[in-house]
């Protein structure tokens, strides 16, 4: 995906280099965007194929249609007077016609493309059991409502983790072999357990035994009056989830980055910089961080991707009203439209992450600026 290998060390004339940078980056971004869009379409198509292998999407559409027809009949003054039998035949009749209109009777391959379009536009109809807090039963409304809490907890913990681990690692790489450094090496294996797992222990200690922090949820019930009281309550509920995240990944991330930086600070050009007598900070910034920036960004994007799907159990454990908890509820209630919708949303989120990664690449990687993106995909 990152067409690094095509970036040959070309001697680019100075004039060409300065002139087309912006255009190249734009073009590169467009190419990447289109590629990703195609990828998303294929991914959603696969998702729908998996979902419909057992005929679940078909059933979903049919029940949605029947529900609509029944509603219409109920609202129609004349039709309401029909006897049960008449009404049934009328319903069947309308259903047959509508199903034909919607293409429900067509072969699977044609139908699958209709589903694909509905999936891509999140036009997934009604959830079977779940409703949004505002009372809507439409899948897109339900999902939309849950997106923000997920973003809140995931973004805050992930950013905190990433930056703290990286700067801590830089600090460690400067004094490797120290007691602190050895501690990090010794603690690194503890990251083998995922965040939700630490979450269980944290809840057990701080909520069940000590009663210091809430068991879960996002805000006190009922929500406290006033804006700042609300913010305070949310922060109080955020402490345990964020701690769980940081506890589960901090040591490994630090260890990983420390090792990475150690390896890179033994490069010849770093020794050269040291020989020139540059300060440690300048060396770090210009000779260690700068050349490794693409790798750092990739790694950050990868953790983001991991986190999107990791959220499901994490939010279940903390009872956090986000996408993950929604998924879990949908599993328990066997709410197919919601599950398909969540999968599609996750696909979108992943694609968006990758797209941002590509743009970041275009900005930091000189090889992209020099025209590597032309052979993009």
């Amino acid at each position: 995906m990152l067409s690094v290998e095509t970036a040959r060390e070309r001697a680019v004339p100075a004039a060409r280099r300065s002139g087309g940078n912006l255009w190249r980056i734009t073009k590169y971004t467009l190419v990447k965007g289109t590629t990703l869009l195609i990828t998303v379409i294929i991914a959603v198509y696969l998702t729908i194929l998996i979902a419909n292998m057992g005929g679940y999407v078909d059933k979903m559409r049919e029940s949605e249609l029947r529900f609509q027809i029944a509603e219409e009949i109920n609202q129609n003054e004349e039709l309401r007077l029909l006897t049960v039998q008449e009404r049934k035949t009328y319903e069947e009749e309308v259903f047959r016609v509508r199903a034909k209109q919607l293409g429900l009777d067509r072969p699977f391959i044609v139908k699958s493309f209709i589903y694909l379009w509905n999936g891509l536009t999140l036009n997934l109809g009604r959830a079977i059991h779940l409703t949004s807090d505002a009372g809507s039963a439409y899948v897109d409304n339900i999902i939309g409502e849950r997106l923000a809490p997920t973003l809140l907890v995931m973004a805050s913990s992930q950013l905190l983790l990433f930056f703290s681990a990286m700067f801590f690692a830089l600090f460690l790489s400067r004094r490797y072999g120290s007691r602190l450094d050895r501690l990090v090496v010794a603690m690194a294996p503890t990251s083998a357990a995922p965040a939700w797992f630490y979450g269980i222990f944290l809840i057990m200690i701080f909520a069940a035994v000590l009663h210091w922090l809430p068991f879960g949820g996002m805000i006190d019930a009922p929500p406290p009056p006033g804006f700042w009281a609300k913010v305070g309550s949310i922060i109080k509920h955020l402490i345990l989830p964020i701690s769980a995240f940081v506890a589960s990944s901090f040591w490994l991330s630090s260890y990983y980055w420390r090792t990475f930086f150690l390896i890179h600070s033994s490069e010849d050009y770093v020794d050269m910089a040291k020989a020139k007598g540059l300060t440690g900070r300048a060396i770090e910034r210009r000779y260690v961080l700068r050349p490794t920036l693409p790798t750092i960004i990739t790694s950050f994007a990868m953790t983001l991707i991991g986190l999107w799907t990791g959220a499901i159990v994490f939010e279940t454990v903390f009872n956090w009203p986000g996408l993950g908890r929604l998924t879990q509820q949908a599993i328990n209630m066997f709410d197919t439209p919601v599950i398909v919708g969540v999968t599609v949303i996750y696909a979108y989120l992943l694609a968006l992450t990758l797209f941002l990664l590509d743009i970041a690449y275009a900005i930091v990687d000189p090889r992209v600026k020099l025209g590597g993106g032309e052979n993009g995909s």
Binding site: L2, V40, G177, P189, A208, T343, Y346
Partner: protein, 446 residues
């Protein structure tokens, strides 16, 4: 062989790795023991068996070793059966086919805690006239409490703790408390020898009464029991082989395949690289957990299907990208150029020069995969998508969580599977990190 011995010698230098190896060895031993002690079918039968299998086990009992840490000793379950110890029963013929069958359950109660429940189960044999029993409780200080008199059906259960008339005779206390309470201090147990006397009358020559008395304890076995009275140790034992095989098979399989694919993609370039990258892009966008959830819900929850899909999706995905960028750097190194110059085959270059070069950097990721798949199984189980037959650690956590074990204070139920999961995860991770430092010449001695 020598290479392995060499490696072991090097590992000895890292104490954490030795600990890790011990943990892994322990887990392997535990798995072998589990599979031999409780064969697969037996494990499934036990875990899925309801009341019939577990009727004589207490509900939500803590592990027995809890008693070591508390001053107040909690009772273990006491089961007494007339079928197993016929001495409990004395039969006196009263003529006319009528006989008195007296059963005395006598036991010494020296615990500080009250039992959880009390039950009496009768099985009786007769043709028309139902036998009659009178049940009486005799405390160590000689008080006699009449409990119940009933005529028996072929199979009868008298759940003493649920007898709603009994509390009236026990100063309003619940039977399992009131029957054992010290009259002076109702919150204390009166220690001593208790007797449960069942005086039965049968009215036919062939008729017979057999009884089983169960005093459900508050502690049980080494692991305690769950809400369905199941002995948790069964699932703890069987979780080990499941976790180990899932983790090892999936992690080793996928990471080796990923590495080879990435190496081939980089080395051959061209359309091979293109195809691998395109597939990779698509798989990266497919969210693993939701897809697994859909598969689990719509098709099969069998652990083999789930882990197969995980492996299939795990081959591609983020791993291949980082492997690839490492290989790209390596590909331009001088020694690869040299290898090409002396005419090394593609195969040789990939497996002798490309892959060994990146192994050191990639090992942390490689090794943390074993635990991550172990935990993935647990994750799925916690979401309620565990294998429907097998008892696993994840399913225990799921049960505990959905029964609110943390809220009700049954911490052992959460902690036991969690500790085993953590042990397994840490064991592999510790060994992996040491291997990393051994294989990576640049890290040696760090």
């Amino acid at each position: 062989m020598r290479a392995i011995r060499n490696l072991l010698n090097q590992i000895k230098a890292y104490p954490s790795a030795v600990v890790g190896l011990c943990i892994i060895a322990f887990m392997i031993t535990l798995s072998i023991y589990a599979v031999i002690k409780i064969p697969y079918r037996e494990a499934v039968r036990l875990w899925k068996g309801g009341e019939n299998v577990w009727i004589e086990y207490p509900r939500n009992a803590r592990p027995e070793w809890f008693n070591l840490f508390y001053k107040e000793k909690q009772p273990v379950t006491i089961v007494m059966k007339t079928t197993e110890t016929p001495e409990l029963k004395t039969v006196t013929d009263l003529g006319n086919g009528i006989a008195a069958q007296d059963i005395v359950f006598e036991f010494d109660y020296q615990y500080d805690g009250f039992p959880a429940e009390l039950s009496l189960f009768f099985t009786s044999k007769f043709t028309t006239a139902r036998p009659n029993v009178e049940i009486k409780w005799i405390t160590p200080d000689g008080r006699e409490i009449n409990m119940q008199s009933m005529s028996l059906r072929p199979s009868e259960a008298y759940r003493i703790s649920q007898d709603t008339r009994l509390p009236r005779r026990l100063n309003g206390l619940q039977p399992e408390k009131g029957l054992f309470a010290d009259p002076a201090n109702p919150n204390k147990v009166l220690k001593g020898t208790y007797q449960l006397v069942v005086s039965g009358l049968v009215f036919e020559p062939e008729a017979n009464i057999e009884a089983t008395f169960v005093l459900y304890g508050k502690v049980h076995g080494i692991a305690g029991t769950d809400h369905l009275r199941r002995d948790i140790s069964v699932a703890l034992l069987w979780g080990a082989p499941v976790a180990l095989s899932v983790g090892l098979v999936v992690a080793v399989g996928t990471s080796l395949t990923t590495m080879c694919l990435a190496a081939c993609a980089v080395w051959f370039g061209g359309w091979i690289d293109w195809i691998i990258r395109r597939i990779n892009e698509i798989v990266m966008i497919l969210p693993l957990l939701p897809i697994l959830i859909m598969i689990g819900l719509f098709y099969s929850r069998s652990i083999i299907v789930m882990m197969g899909c995980t492996a299939l999706l795990g081959i591609f995905g983020s791993g291949i990208l980082s492997y690839r960028s490492m290989f790209l750097q390596t590909k331009t190194s001088g020694y690869i150029e040299a290898a090409r110059a002396y005419g090394a085959s593609n195969f040789r270059i990939i497996f002798r020069y490309l892959i060994p070069k990146v192994i050191p950097v990639l090992i942390p990721g490689f090794v943390t995969q074993v635990p991550s798949y172990v935990f993935l199984e647990a994750t799925l189980a916690v979401l309620g998508l565990g294998d429907k037959d097998l008892p696993t650690w994840g399913k225990l956590l799921n049960d505990a969580y959905s029964e609110g074990a943390l809220l009700t204070g049954h911490f052992y139920w959460v902690v036991e599977p969690a500790v085993l999961l953590v042990l397994t995860g840490f064991g592999f991770a510790m060994v992996g990190f040491a291997l990393d430092r051994i294989f990576n010449p640049r890290l040696r001695g760090l």
